[in-house]
Amino acid sequence: MALDPVLTAVGVALIVPISLFLGVIYSFLLRKITARLQWRVGPMVQMYSDLAPILGRSRILQPLYDVLKLFGKETLVPDVPHKGLFKAAPYLSLAFAVLAVFFIPFPGLPLLSAVPYSMIIASYLIIAAVMFTIIGPAASGSPWGAIGARREAELFLIAELAFVVSLFSVAYAQGTLTLWNLAIDVGRPLNFVLFAMAGVLMFLAMLGKLHIKPFDIPEAETEIVAGPYTEYSGKYLGMFFLTRVFLFYGLVGLFVAAFLPPLSSSLLWLPVYAAAAVLLVFLLSAIHTLSPRYRIDTALVSYSKLVIALGIASFAVALVLRLVV
């Protein structure tokens, strides 16, 4: 499909606020559903009437307020030799996250996902965004930062494996590497078996990337103070949180585009897209509520066994689909 520059330019300009808003809603939903499953109320949608004038009417945009507050705070920078890298990491990781969002289709806005090999570019950008959350803290010079960065790297290995295997098994079955083609054609009914398996794999990858409970090992604040973000404060911390918000939107968008094909193809599918996204966030928060944190070594062992088994199975199904059918 030819890329007419006008529509994509408008789309690109439009997608940043949309993705920010959706990312914030997803993180708010994650916090709210986790709280409701823990017998408490969580950030309030409708603030009490008599406290509203003081503490604000509703807290749906709570993650956004957190980020804005962090931008408003003083920033302390540790006196370490490679301060430049320490300061640059948040900017770069935010930039890559926003770039990644451009390559992920939104119902009605194909954006740059129609560019050939757009899936590879999107996955590389996501990898780069996460990579800088490793490099920055490693330069922060605090032992907690170092341990957090190392754990992030170890977790990154497995999460990345699951992410890549799931995407490419679907791409191999459909025979195309551009995300938009994947998102449009439903292909043969047999695909749903592959979509289910690769979907579970992608779900595991999302757990690892978004630091959802069983795998929030890098950020275990009760073990290593605040993990990679110990030394960051003020606007740099705000940027890391923004990266997380964009990543949340990006991964949910990628999941829907790759594994639930027709949904993100046109505007008509928007309500179904929203329902699928909310269901996905509910599943994530259920897992978040129910599982304690793995230790990094047991996490690698049990996680990788599961991921490799599923990966081989989904590739086998993809092979069968591609050759036989």
């Binding site: 709280a35 409701r36 499953l37 823990q38 017998w39 408490r40 109320v41 009490y48 009437s49 008599d50 406290l51 259920a286 509520t289 129910l290 599982s291």
Partner: protein, 195 residues
């Protein structure tokens, strides 16, 4: 069914309705505001009429949060809430039941010296006739006289009252100095005036 599944089922069925109280706001009605038992040991309250300034609460307070303070001739029994431990020991020790622990507990102030942080009763002092120094609260003097009356049998009561009138106006030091001269002194028959 594995343990997490059982926990999830229990959580969804039983614990999905939050038990959170709407504490700082009373918008959701009194019941969900906060449950406070009637006999909670909250902020102590001093009853002005009953307090006679006998400093029993000062001697009993283990954190010395209750202190007698002389303010321009008046005795101020002051509980400093920033150091009070709300243990209720002074409520027990007060002979006149002047201190009551109220279930009120809400207190968050920005400045430690605000009046809300101090529970005070002011009493005017009896001045010694001889050296002019305030030595005891007037109410305590009156109350101790009443207590004395209750205990003594009727026959001797007025004679004792007369003696008490003589003695009560002097502070302990002056009383000691002049006590020999007073005819209430137990060994007055021994002492011969001017010998």
């Amino acid at each position: 069914m594995s343990a997490p599944a059982r926990i999830l089922r229990k959580v969804i069925r039983k614990y999905s309705r939050p038990m959170t109280l709407s504490y700082p706001s009373t918008a959701m009605g009194e019941k969900r505001y906060s449950q406070i038992p009637p006999k909670l040991r909250g902020i102590p309250e001093r009853d002005l009429e009953k307090c006679i300034g006998c400093k029993a609460c000062y001697y009993v307070c283990s954190g010395r949060a209750t202190t007698p303070v002389m303010v321009d001739g008046k005795l101020v029994m002051q509980i400093n809430l920033s150091r009070c431990t709300f243990c209720g020991h002074c409520e027990e020790a007060c002979p006149e039941e002047a201190i009551k622990m109220t279930p009120r507990f809400e207190l968050a102030v920005r400045d430690k010296t605000r009046p809300e942080m101090f529970v005070e009763t002011t009493l005017d002092m009896a001045v010694c006739a001889c050296c002019g120094r305030p030595f005891i609260a007037q109410k305590q003097l009156k109350r101790s006289f009443e207590r004395l009356n209750e205990k003594i049998d009727k026959s001797v009561r007025d004679e004792v009252a007369a003696d008490f009138r003589k003695v009560e106006q002097y502070c302990p030091e002056c009383k000691r100095a002049r006590s020999v001269g007073l005819d209430t002194h137990t060994k007055k028959h021994v002492w011969v005036e001017g010998a």
